[in-house]
């Protein structure tokens, strides 16, 4: 089935309203849908609940939404790269739910796969387990965790076609495939939109059924921690 190809990033995010829950792909700044985030900043939509592993940095990625006070609640695993995040949490302006990274990945996977909840050992015996259901299997304790879904999922892929099939590049894959499946509406920002039939079906990471619309864009691909080795 041919999917919507948005004429602009502004149009791509135009259905996202105040109080929406959105999931955003990426690990650090790698694999984030940069232009979709910039369009959300411009849209001035607010009171968002954002589910993403990290919350960008002060001047890029989801950090831009944060700076604009567009986020009410953040669900993620590591938010240590962002001073404005800290300020808003301490000031009571931002609610935060921290989830172990593997649990977050699996909660999103489960949500997209129609699994309401599952058990995982991560967090047993820690503050995260307080008030949570614990169950023992084969002598080991596990915590009950619920699946996550979103009104809108924003992902970034290296290549996509008009059928919504997506291929990711290297570690820019990260959370994107699960997030694509967990959104009621999934919008994909692709580096390259290719003609139908150009992608090898064997190489597709995200089958098109999960994607409602696509748009091609050019990314800056900012690097958080450039680490190089000296020339020999």
């Amino acid at each position: 089935m041919m999917k919507t190809i948005y004429p602009s990033f502004e149009r791509a995010v135009s259905e996202i309203k105040d109080y929406s829950t959105i999931m955003v792909g990426g690990f650090g700044l790698v694999g984030i849908p940069e232009n979709l985030i910039l369009a959300l900043v411009d849209s001035k939509v607010k009171h968002l609940t954002v589910i993403s592993n990290n919350c960008g940095v002060d001047d890029w990625g989801l950090g831009l939404l944060l700076k604009n006070k567009q986020i009410d609640k953040m669900i993620g695993s590591y938010v240590g790269e962002n001073k404005e995040f800290e300020r808003q949490v301490l000031a009571g302006e931002l609610e935060v739910e921290l989830t172990p990274q593997g649990t977050l990945a699996e909660r999103i996977r489960a949500g997209g796969a129609g699994i309401p909840a599952f058990y995982t050992p991560a967090g047993v015996g820690t503050p995260l387990a307080e008030g949570q259901e614990v169950r023992t299997f084969d002598g080991k304790d596990y915590l009950l965790q619920t699946g996550l879904r979103a009104d809108f999922s924003l992902v970034r892929a290296a290549k996509g076609d008009h059928y919504g099939n997506l291929i990711y590049n290297k570690t820019a894959q990260n959370f994107n495939p699960m997030i694509a499946a967990a959104g009621k509406v999934t919008i994909a920002e692709v580096e390259q939109l290719v003609d139908p039939g150009k992608l090898n079906p064997d190489h597709i990471h995200t089958p098109g059924i999960y994607v409602q619309g696509l748009i091609e864009g050019l990314q800056e691909k900012r690097i958080e921690r450039l680490t190089v080795r000296a020339e020999a």
Partner: protein, 224 residues
């Protein structure tokens, strides 16, 4: 105090001792910070695959300037290369590998370890909570968990305690502790001192450890 070494020297010493935990044929996850340094000392005759929880099985060396790919980072968000034979995967797949006990070893940093093998390494009450990242999953996944850290904190107080004071990352998850002063195993009967670093005595290790230490009958002194 027996020896006062420069911080960088201490870190290298711990990293080199931690490298000895890695056997040829192992799949290994190295935590962010000092554990990442262990990779620099892996002996060339060992066949080792390093896993990065952001979706890379087979971390290679750091890239030369012209090789830098912004889409290729490790879990510490540093640019890396992929080793020969590497595979990329999603975060869900990556943690399935971890949770499914497919990794042989994880080497992680620590703030406190208790005599029951509890680990605290993710938050200090009153300070900004940055998040646990993948640590809470990894401590339940790898077949062996080795914690590397300074033996005492910056105030000279023990970090190996009867009970952790900080919020836990995992309960009863640590197998071995490697510090700048000693190697200590977590056993069913408590902590066992198995190695003492050069320049330290068994008595000094006991004094700088709050938890009760059983000294292995063949404790290896000046082992590293």
């Amino acid at each position: 105090m027996a020896v006062e070494l420069d911080k960088a020297v201490v870190r290298e010493k711990i990293a080199r001792r931690a490298e000895q935990e890695i056997e040829s044929g192992y799949y290994v996850n190295l935590g962010i910070g000092m554990p990442t340094m262990v990779a620099n000392y892996i002996q060339e005759d060992k066949q080792v695959v390093l896993q990065s929880e952001n979706g890379l099985l087979g971390i290679g060396r750091s890239p030369y300037e012209e090789e830098v790919d912004p889409d290729l980072i490790n879990a510490g968000k540093e640019t890396v290369t992929a080793s020969v034979g590497a595979a990329y995967c999603s975060s869900a797949e990556s943690f399935a590998m971890i949770r499914g006990e497919h990794l042989d070893l994880a080497i992680l940093g620590g703030m406190e370890v208790s005599e029951q093998g509890d680990l605290a390494n993710w938050m200090i009450p009153g300070k900004m909570i940055k998040g646990m990242g993948g640590a809470m999953d990894i401590v339940h996944g790898a077949k062996k968990i080795v914690i590397i850290m300074d033996h005492v904190n910056k105030h000279g107080e023990p970090k190996i305690l009867k009970q952790c004071q900080l919020p836990l990352t995992g309960q009863g998850v640590v197998d071995r502790i490697i510090t700048d002063r000693a190697v200590i195993d977590v056993t069913e009967t408590g902590l066992e001192l198995i190695e003492v670093s050069e320049g330290w005595t068994v008595e000094e290790i006991k004094q700088s450890t709050e938890a009760e230490l059983h000294v292995h009958p063949n404790v290896w002194e000046a082992s590293f």
